[in-house]
């Protein structure tokens, strides 16, 4: 066997013994990117550290190794951060410290003002959903790849929208300035982005694009809500923070929560695909859905992985929320409706995971349960704000 072939196969015991460690696997681009992240954060720190409290400084510093680790373990993240940075800086440069430029500058008005960027995100997510389904039905890899590209662009534009919105909040009034995760409008953008990213991660990992339409369906629904909420209620207007939200906790509690919500939504949508495939297989194993959708085992596995990830982050988010509550409301647990519903969501998935781990349950029951879980999660996310009153009434409809 030639040396070259050996290297390609990576299949002798020597390869196990001499396998490269993590650092050796990194290429030049990985290092350049990590350097850019570090330099960027250092620049931000020197510029703005004086305006941050010690916790916010800590969050900024810790976000550097976290982002680098994330980017190194999932390379698409590197390109994403670079493009988002460039476009966000373009937006900031076009504003040039004048909020009025949003209307007069062409680039802002049609591309990178937070409003325009969010519109691009919305349109692209919806289009991508259509393309994913079209690709699935036509069995065309090209259409599916186009859909992927659209989703990536949507995610990029969404992040640009949030970044520029962050800047805009300071432009309107330096006292208004805050990270854009403070109300229902902003967190819906975040939900779309995180769910989208999670899906893209698994799409890459499983090298399968046929579930895209299903997952993007829930993102499109969120987009529809976002547009309605923005146009009919003027929710897109940047508002100053209420005193209870003025805390560094918001920067970690909210995103952690939305990794949870996004992952739960993903698992529910994969479960929908699972049930479709299952019933298609029973009716006609040669049918379109039965052939084109991924294997039941794969979807079952993905659904589990997604719930596990969601559960882990939801646990963190709830605990962070409790710690914030201890600082803002005087107690880490008050049985406030939002807290209680977070517990209900947690208990529900805890029960799901127990069934899976100790009883080994899989299949349609668990898929139905994962879908039901989304409705419970949805109630905790929006229903509580709509129907119940309590301390956590930040995103009222």
């Amino acid at each position: 066997m030639s040396v070259q072939q050996n290297a390609l196969d990576k299949n002798t015991l020597d390869d196990f013994i001499d396998k490269p460690n993590l650092l050796q696997k990194l290429g030049i681009f990985d290092w350049v990117w990590a350097l850019l992240v570090t330099v960027g954060a250092a620049f931000v720190f020197t510029q703005y550290a004086a305006h941050m409290d010690v916790y916010e400084q800590g969050i900024l510093i810790l976000s550097v190794p976290s982002l680098i680790a994330f980017g190194w373990s999932w390379r698409p993240m590197q390109s994403l951060t670079l493009v988002v940075t460039v476009l966000s800086l373009l937006g900031i440069w076009l504003y040039g410290g004048n909020y009025g430029n949003a209307e007069s500058s062409f680039g802002l008005r049609f591309l990178v003002s937070s409003q325009s960027a969010v519109m691009w995100m919305s349109a692209l997510f919806v289009l991508s959903t259509v393309f994913y389904f079209a690709g699935l039905i036509a069995g065309s890899e090209f259409i599916e790849k186009t859909a992927s590209a659209m989703s990536w662009t949507a995610i990029t534009m969404g992040f640009v929208g949030l970044m520029v919105r962050w800047y805009e909040s300071y432009l309107i009034d330096p006292e208004f300035g805050h990270i854009p995760v403070s109300n229902l409008y902003e967190v819906f953008i975040l939900f779309c982005l995180i769910t989208g990213l999670l899906y893209m991660y698994y799409e890459g990992r499983y090298k399968n694009r046929s579930m895209g339409g299903f997952v993007l369906l829930v993102i499109s629904a969120a987009v529809a809500f976002l547009l309605w909420y923005g146009f009919s209620r003027g929710a897109d207007e940047i508002q100053p923070l209420v005193p209870a939200l003025k805390s560094y906790w918001m920067k970690i509690h909210v995103p952690a929560n939305f990794v949870g919500y996004g992952a739960f939504a993903l698992s529910a949508m994969v479960s929908v695909a699972y049930l479709l495939k299952d019933s298609a297989l029973k009716r006609n194993p040669d049918g379109l859905m039965a052939r084109r959708l991924p294997s039941l085992e794969m979807m079952d596995d993905l659904s589990y992985k997604s719930i596990a990830l969601g559960f882990a982050f939801f646990t963190i988010a709830t605990i962070l929320g409790a710690m914030w509550a201890a600082e803002a409301w005087g107690g880490y647990w008050s049985w406030d409706p939002k807290e209680t519903w977070a517990l209900i969501v947690w208990l529900n998935y805890a029960a799901w995971l127990h069934f899976r781990f100790s009883k080994g349950w899989r299949g349609t029951h668990m898929a139905w349960w994962a879908i039901a879980g989304l409705f419970i999660t949805l109630f905790a996310f929006i229903g509580v704000n709509m129907f119940l009153s309590g301390l956590h009434s930040y995103g009222e409809l």
Binding site: N11, L13, F16, I316, A328, W329, G331, T340, N348, V384
Partner: protein
């Protein structure tokens, strides 16, 4: 003895069973829903109004107004902890075995039967293979044991494993939950509930000053944990907090005194509140000097194991200057000064009233229709809220605004009236004169009650109009004047309804319509005449369009007066605002225990999900021909798909490297 052991083991089996655990998780979730659907810890009277007597009592006995303190709810939680503990205790020996034993004694047969198992032959010797395999296992971070059997049937087993921390995940998550619940128990009201059950503590339900609350409703400052609130006016201090208990409260003494020097609300440029903060001074004999600190939302003060939070704010007994304008002209206007939360006795003739000053508000941001008919948030300025309680104990609540409000281009003095809490608030619109006061309206009202004046202007008008019509009949003239006077009096005291009743009492039904029309004409003539006279007294000989609008508004206000309920319009002429800071003071020694348990839980969850306990066995058996038979087997307790791929790669490498003689 034996039977009792089986009963015991049965109980342990039941408590530690997965079915019970999952059932408890689901039951707890459903029980938790209850407390969010039914708003908790509201005043009991509001529940009674909502549900009616029967259901109110039924729900109360089930503890539904405070679900999370109900005995049955705590029992579910207790069972969950018990079940989790039993589960941990039962599983720990097995887990320890899994964690510590390499299972090098595994039988050849069971290795062959494993899900991931491959057998192959190699020309290399057992020793050579063993050396190579050990290097591989080390490089892959496996720990391993080896066992060689020299006697019956020679073989060597390398038993390797890694990712044992997955088992730690089990302990950390489950013990973490137990620790969190125990920490929560430290901060819970369980001891207080027990003391209440024993009769040592009885919640106070009366609305009395803290100094009058008996000892049995007071908890000492040595109390282990509490969470209560207190409103402290600026410049005052307190050494207690109130703990709400169902429909009553307990007084919790603090180990120090807390003084509110100043309370502030900072605003954004848009007028929305930016921050609420209080300058506090802690007075404590243990301190050399009083401790001064400013707290705000999200920034509590930690002192002596307690935390002081900025929870809300309200009035702290503002001083209000008032002018009482009686609606009946025989009484004089009175002036008085009072404080919010205090009560004052008032008399109006022989009627006695109690004035209860309830609240003062400096800002009233309300939606008001602007000139384009769009709703706009507008500040209506200062207002104060009071209750007027009559001798029978019935009270009506009023909200009076200090400054006039512009509606449709006209100015009004607003007074909100609410007869009972379930009724909507209704407004009396008193037209404001050009000084923005009720003066002109009051003067007009008084003139209407002045019979002599009404008669005089009635005669003037009647004479004038009869002359205009070339009529001269004293009897008719007198009759007209008398009915003008009478109708005016009737209108001023009873409104339009009184006139209708009067007509209904005196005329048959078929005539009422025409009589009513005639009466209205007469009344209008009289009212207009009195109004013009009032204007003349104010030095205005002619009435213009604005004056007639004022007249129309006065009419609707006067028509509503019989429903107003108060014999005065109480005007706020000045105020000195005193704010109170709403503090929440807690002592929660279990907090750090809860955080410790939470950390265990988080670490545990990640170990449980993302670390897989993997085992690899390499079974080497020398063959007669000098070759070696290799059995490679493995297992993983998580993520089997991933392990399957790994195992495939590994066994291919084994084959490529070993089975062809190491080519």
């Amino acid at each position: 003895m034996k039977s009792s052991r089986t009963v015991g083991s049965r109980i342990v089996n039941f408590l530690g069973s997965m079915n019970l655990a999952i059932t408890l998780l689901v039951v707890l979730a459903i029980a938790s829903v209850l407390g969010t659907v039914l708003q908790q810890n509201q005043p009991y009277t509001s529940y009674e109004i909502k549900f009616g007597k029967f259901w109110f009592e039924a729900f109360r006995s089930l503890g539904l107004y405070d679900v999370y303190s109900a005995v049955w709810f705590l029992l579910i939680l207790g069972f969950l902890v018990l079940s989790t503990t039993t589960c941990v205790v039962r599983n720990t020996p097995g887990m320890l075995k899994e964690l510590t034993r390499f299972r090098e004694g595994v039988k050849e047969k069971s290795l062959r039967l494993m899900k991931q198992s491959e057998a192959m032959h190699s020309k290399q010797s057992v020793d050579d293979i063993q050396t190579l395999v050990k290097r591989v296992l080390k490089a892959e971070n496996f720990r391993f044991r080896e066992k060689s059997e020299k006697e019956n049937g020679q073989y060597t087993v390398l038993a390797a494993m890694k990712g044992g921390s997955n088992r730690w995940g089990y302990w950390l998550t489950h013990i973490g939950i137990i620790v969190i619940c125990l920490g929560g128990l430290f901060d819970s009201r369980l001891p207080m509930m027990f003391a209440e059950w024993q009769g040592e503590v009885i919640p106070e339900t009366r609305n009395v000053p803290a100094s009058e609350v008996p000892d049995v409703s007071t908890l000492s400052s040595a109390n282990f944990s509490y969470r209560g609130s207190v409103d402290i006016p600026e410049g005052r201090r307190a050494n207690i907090v109130f703990l709400p208990v169902r429909d009553g409260y307990l007084v919790q003494r603090l180990p120090y005194e807390v003084e509110v020097k100043e309370f502030r609300v900072e605003h954004y440029s848009t007028g929305q509140p930016k921050s609420f903060e209080s300058d506090l001074v802690i007075h404590d004999p243990d301190l050399e000097a009083p401790l001064e600190e400013t707290i705000s939302v999200n920034h509590p003060l930690l002192y002596k194991g307690t935390a002081i939070y900025q929870a809300n704010f309200g009035d702290g007994g503002s001083e209000i200057k008032m002018k009482l304008h009686p609606f009946v002209n025989q009484y004089a206007t009175q002036e008085m000064t009072g404080n919010v939360f205090k009560e004052y006795n008032l008399t109006n003739g022989d009627r006695k009233f109690r004035l209860e000053l309830e609240n003062f508000r400096l800002f009233n941001i309300n939606p008001i229709k602007n000139d384009d008919g769009e709703e706009e948030q507008k500040n209506l300025g200062p207002s104060f809220i009071f209750r007027l309680r009559n001798a029978a104990g019935e009270a009506i609540e009023y909200t009076n605004y200090m400054a006039p409000v512009t509606l449709d281009g006209r100015q009004y003095i607003l007074s909100g009236v609410q007869v009972s809490p379930s009724d909507p608030q209704r407004f009396l619109h008193i037209p404001a004169d050009n000084k923005g006061s009720v003066g002109l309206f009051m003067k007009f009202l008084k003139n209407l009650q002045d019979t002599a004046l009404v008669r005089k202007v009635s005669i003037d008008t009647t004479v004038e109009s009869m002359q205009g019509a070339k009529l001269n009949d004293d009897a008719v003239q007198n009759q007209v004047v008398e009915s003008m006077v009478r109708l005016t009096q009737l209108f001023v005291t009873t409104g339009f309804d009184g006139i209708s009743e009067d007509i209904a009492a005196r005329f048959p039904e078929d005539k009422r319509a025409s009589v009513s029309e005639a009466f209205m004409k007469v009344l209008q003539a009289s009212l207009r005449a009195v109004y013009l006279e009032t204007l003349r007294q104010e030095g205005k000989p002619e009435a213009d369009e604005r004056d007639w609008l004022f007249y129309d508004d006065s009419m609707s206000a006067i028509a509503n007066l019989p429903f107003y309920g108060s014999p005065w319009y109480i005007q706020m002429t000045g105020f000195t605002q005193i704010e109170a800071s709403g503090l929440q003071i807690t002592r929660s020694p279990g907090k750090n225990i809860v955080y410790f348990g939470s950390t265990m839980l988080i670490i545990g969850v990640f170990l449980l999900f993302y670390v897989s306990h993997r085992r690899i066995w390499v079974y080497l058996k020398p063959q007669d021909d000098g070759q070696t038979e290799i059995i490679l087997a493995g297992s993983a307790n998580r993520n089997e798909d991933e392990f399957k791929k790994y195992f495939q790669r590994l066994q291919l490498a084994f084959r490529q490297t070993l089975s062809d003689g190491g080519k």
